[in-house]
Structure formats: structure tokens, C-alpha cells
């Protein structure tokens, strides 16, 4: 591993990846027996697990809505997930990310089917190496599908970054901390709709357009892997 973010002579990143190369992605569905739906998603060293409980009765009841289910989403990092121990109390960052992830999932979940109930989505980052929110939203939508909750489409996400002036896909923590930009994007890939978009950093209009295109292509690949992971779970159940 080199200390150089991007080596122009080889065209490779610090971990040897090409600019548009993702880290190895692993997904498995139905990993937590108690939850209605669950999924584990890994992007390189980033490891995130998501679980869905519901639709179930919401308490206190005044929180519920008469015409749809409410969504309750928590994005949380395990204290041991980061380089230095992170306090388990929710940080400002986790509160914000819980909101943007909830809003991304709201676009997909057909909540009108379950009025007066709650659908609870819990995301735990087990190991953080960049791109945890996009891995989290990818895992959450798998868990929702695993729970059998009707959705308009799955949600898949990836972060595009800029390091040493070059746009790169699926940035890790080193690239995030030393680079110029981190743009997490999540979409409903089958419908070509953006449901999560943030930018921490600087991009020109042109780089922004290219970055979105880069994310869109990667998200299509992640989408294929998501469907494969769902199919695998049910194939295994069929064999048992």
C-alpha cells in the first residue's frame, strides 16, 4: 500500500485499484434469525449489518400515521468499528445519516400498505473503512426485501470521491480523509431515480456530472449483486 493517494505514473490508487474499480463486494441475506429481514454487506473492509422489524405496532401510538406506515431508521456505529473507539452515544453525524438514509428508503418502501404501523430499520456499522452510509442503505434495502416488505425497487448506493484531482469510485477511509471530495449516491437502479445524494468536498460542475455517471454505473453492478444475494438465500431454503 502506498502513501500516495493516486499515482499518475501507473494510474492506480493507493490500494492498487483503478479509478473506476470498486472494492470486493460481499452480500448475504437472512443473517439474523430474530429479525423479519436482515442482510450483511461488505465493501472491502467496510462491514455493515442491517435488520428489519415490522410492520409492527408502534408505541407510543400517537406517532403512527392513519394512511401509511412510519419508518424508523437508525444508523449506528459500533464502538469498535473505527480506528479509535467511538462512543456508543449517537453523534450529530449518526443522527444526520439516520435521516438521509430514512429519506432514501421512504422513496422505495410502499408504506401505504401498512397504515398505523411502524417498520423499523436498524443499521449497525461493524467495521468502518469509508462508504458506510451507502453500504448501510444497500444492506437496509436487502433486509426490507428479505422481510417481504413491498418496495418500488431496491436501493443501492456507492460513494464517489476525488483524490489527487482524479474521480474515483467507492472511496475508502484513507481516500476520504486525504481526498478532495466524498459524494455518496444511492439510487433505485431499476427506476433510475436518485434517493440519496450528498457531497462533502469540492467538485466542478463537470466533475459532478461525471461523478454521478460513475456512481450510476457502479450502482447497476451492486443491484445485480443484491438480486443474486436475495436469490441465494431462497435457493438455500429450497434445498433445506
Amino acid at each position: 500500500m502506498s502513501e500516495l493517494l493516486f499515482d499518475p505514473s501507473t494510474g492506480l490508487r493507493h490500494d492498487g485499484r483503478k479509478p473506476d474499480e470498486m472494492r470486493p463486494v460481499k452480500m448475504s441475506v437472512g443473517v439474523l434469525p430474530n429479525a423479519q429481514g436482515s442482510a450483511l454487506v461488505e465493501f472491502g473492509k467496510t462491514k455493515v449489518v442491517a435488520a428489519v422489524y415490522g410492520p409492527r405496532e408502534a408505541l407510543p401510538r400517537f406517532m403512527t400515521l392513519p394512511d401509511r406506515a412510519i419508518l424508523r431508521v437508525r444508523y449506528h456505529m459500533a464502538p469498535f468499528s473505527t480506528k479509535e473507539r467511538k462512543s456508543p452515544a449517537p453523534s450529530r453525524r449518526e443522527i444526520e445519516l439516520s435521516k438521509v438514509i430514512r429519506e432514501a428508503l421512504e422513496a422505495a418502501v410502499i408504506s401505504e400498505l401498512y397504515p398505523k404501523t411502524t417498520i423499523d430499520v436498524f443499521i449497525e456499522v461493524l467495521q468502518a473503512d469509508g462508504g458506510t452510509r451507502t453500504a448501510g442503505v444497500t444492506a437496509a434495502s436487502l433486509a426490507l426485501a428479505d422481510a417481504g416488505i413491498p418496495m418500488r425497487d431496491l436501493v443501492a448506493g456507492v460513494a464517489v470521491g476525488k483524490v489527487g484531482g482524479v474521480l474515483v469510485l467507492d472511496i475508502d477511509e484513507f481516500e476520504d480523509s486525504k481526498g478532495e471530495a466524498d459524494m455518496p449516491v444511492a439510487m433505485m437502479p431499476g427506476l433510475d431515480k436518485i434517493v440519496l445524494l450528498q457531497l462533502n468536498g469540492r467538485l466542478t460542475r463537470d466533475e459532478f456530472k461525471k461523478g454521478i455517471e460513475m456512481a450510476r454505473n457502479a450502482i447497476k453492478t451492486i443491484y445485480v449483486l443484491q438480486k443474486q444475494a436475495l436469490r441465494e438465500k431462497y435457493e438455500k431454503e429450497g434445498e433445506a
Binding site: 443522527i95 436518485i194 434517493v195 445524494l197 457531497l199 459532478f208
Partner: protein
């Protein structure tokens, strides 16, 4: 935990239909066109006791931002640079929807979006705000206070933050043995601002796009995109909010509309501040702080908390 808000539909369906029927003809409920922003007025030095402040009205949305400079611990990766910390309070007098208590997710989101835009664009020259490298630097506590919520708090807050920082005066530093003394007076220099940064928000209602949404428009909008720009047009922050989605075609239009609105904001800020920049600071203030012996804390959250050390303030 983030929960679907129960007040997400404040506008009756009949009103929503009316707003949509107007939008079809390119009109809006308050008489604006889709790409018009509301009138802006900026009063800087509104709170003379603050080191910088700005009272901003965007239509009927009112935001007051105050900057207080205090000595504090630096970030470990930038031991000799000052620290910018943005915080937002949605105080209950601003809206029937706001409750007293700790900030909710909306306040955190707003503060973090503005914080990121200013930080990532390196809008503020923090390099001259060091006091004792690795130990003490000046901390720019930027507190956004929403006084009246009539929609698009984020654009108003960003304008107010920029105007407050542009009119912030940096105290003189005197180091006397174990003591750090910050002397604040009207003769002090303005904070160095490298570039102006504004945030412009576009809302999508049905299939229509409008800039600077008011509260009615905001509550029926499917989605909002806030785009932060520096004055040269580089994108220095993005935040999608709301439960809907954005298509690729819409995304380009939204960024275009946001850039147009950002230019209006920048023009207003430049014009209105030019006349106000010479106002003096009325009160003198001296802050005396002992140099710390302990190692500065490491993670971001603890740096923020680490600032709350005891200090003496002499008026």
C-alpha cells in the same frame, strides 16, 4: 433514530391542488416565478456583543447568526489552525412546530450541511487563527438561531452565516506567561474570508421545480436539493432531503436553478454588506485563558466538547 414525521402533510389536499395548478402555469402562491427568490435583507452587527453577527430575512424566514471567538483546542490533524464550529438552534418561538429541547435531526442536518460547505471550500482562512500550535487556537463558534420559520431555513442560514463571518473581527492575542489573552475591540482586523460560499435550495413539487421554497411549498415538496457553491461556481456541498427521488434530468435542472439563485444571493450579500462593513464594535472585551497542560483530545466530537473549559471573561 430517525422517524417519519407525523406533521409531514400540513397543507390540506385542496390547497396542494391549488398550488400545483398554479405551478402548471409557471406561477407560485406568493406571486413569484419558479426561479425567483424572496426579497433578502441583511443587517450585520445586529448583536454587537458577538464578534460577528447577521440578521437575515429571506421573505418571512428570519435567521440570526452570531460568531463568538474563544480559545480552544485545535484538531489534531491541523494543530496550528483555528477551528470553525457551526451549530443550529430551532428555537420554539420560530414556529408552532418547534419544541424546546435539544436540537432535532433537522437542526443537526442544517448545521452540518453549512459546516461542511464552509469547511470543504476552505472559505475561511483559519491558518492565522492559531495561538499556541497544538495547544490553543481560536475557535469560531458560529451559532445559527432561527427566529421565524417560513421555509428554506438552509439558504437563509447560509446567507446569515456568511454575512456574520464576513463581519467578524478577530481579537488580538497576547500571551503572558501561562495566560492567553484575547483582546476584542473595534480596531481589530476583519476575519479573512478566502471566498464567499452560499447554499441554494431547489424544491420539487410534483414534476415542478421551484427555488427558495416557502413553508407551504416545502411541506408539499417531494424532495429538496440544497447545493452549496463558492463564488466561482464550484460545487462545495450537496444535500438531498425529503422522502422523494430525483431523476437524472431533474438533477441537472436543479443544479442549474440553484446556481442562478446562488448568484442572486451573492449579489445581495455583496451589495448590502458593502454599506455596512464600517460599523464599529461597541464593547471591549478581554478573555483570559490558561494554557492547557494536557494533551489535546483526538476525535471530532470530543474536540467539540473539549471547548467547554472554564474561562474568565472580563467585560
Amino acid at each position: 433514530m430517525s422517524i417519519t414525521p407525523s406533521n409531514y402533510q400540513l397543507v390540506p389536499t385542496i390547497r396542494k391542488d391549488y398550488i400545483l395548478s398554479l405551478l402548471k402555469d409557471g406561477k407560485r402562491v406568493d406571486g413569484r416565478g419558479p426561479s425567483d427568490v424572496r426579497p433578502i435583507s441583511i443587517i450585520t452587527n445586529y448583536v454587537p456583543r458577538a464578534d460577528g453577527s447577521a440578521y437575515v430575512k429571506l421573505g418571512e424566514t428570519i435567521v440570526l447568526t452570531g460568531v463568538k471567538i474563544e480559545p480552544g483546542a485545535p484538531y489534531p490533524d491541523n494543530p496550528s489552525e483555528g477551528v470553525l464550529i457551526v451549530n443550529a438552534e430551532f428555537v420554539p418561538l420560530a414556529s408552532p412546530l418547534f419544541e424546546p429541547g435539544p436540537p432535532d435531526e433537522n437542526a443537526y442536518e442544517l448545521a452540518r450541511v453549512i459546516d461542511r460547505s464552509f469547511r470543504e471550500s476552505k472559505a475561511i482562512n483559519l491558518s492565522k487563527l492559531g495561538i499556541v500550535p497544538g495547544k490553543k487556537v481560536m475557535v469560531l463558534w458560529t451559532d445559527i438561531y432561527v427566529l421565524n420559520h417560513n421555509g428554506n431555513l438552509i439558504d437563509a442560514s447560509a446567507i446569515s452565516t456568511l454575512a456574520a463571518l464576513l463581519t467578524t473581527k478577530v481579537p488580538k492575542v497576547v500571551i503572558n506567561g501561562e495566560q492567553v489573552i484575547l483582546e476584542k475591540s473595534s480596531d481589530n482586523e476583519f476575519l479573512e474570508v478566502n471566498k464567499k460560499v452560499v447554499t441554494a435550495t431547489v424544491a420539487k413539487i410534483g414534476s415542478y421545480l421551484v427555488v427558495d421554497p416557502n413553508d407551504e411549498e416545502e411541506s408539499i415538496a417531494d424532495v429538496r436539493l440544497s447545493v452549496s457553491f463558492d463564488e466561482h461556481g464550484e460545487i462545495v456541498g450537496l444535500q438531498k432531503s425529503g422522502m422523494g427521488f430525483i431523476t437524472s434530468g431533474e438533477l441537472d435542472n436543479m443544479v442549474d436553478l440553484a446556481w442562478r439563485a446562488a448568484n442572486i444571493y451573492l449579489k445581495e450579500i455583496n451589495e448590502q454588506l458593502a454599506a455596512q462593513l464600517s460599523k464599529p464594535r461597541e464593547e471591549k472585551e478581554v478573555i483570559i485563558e490558561k494554557l492547557p497542560v494536557e494533551k489535546p483530545s483526538v476525535d471530532e466530537e470530543s474536540v467539540e466538547e473539549g471547548q467547554e473549559e472554564e474561562k474568565q471573561i472580563e467585560d
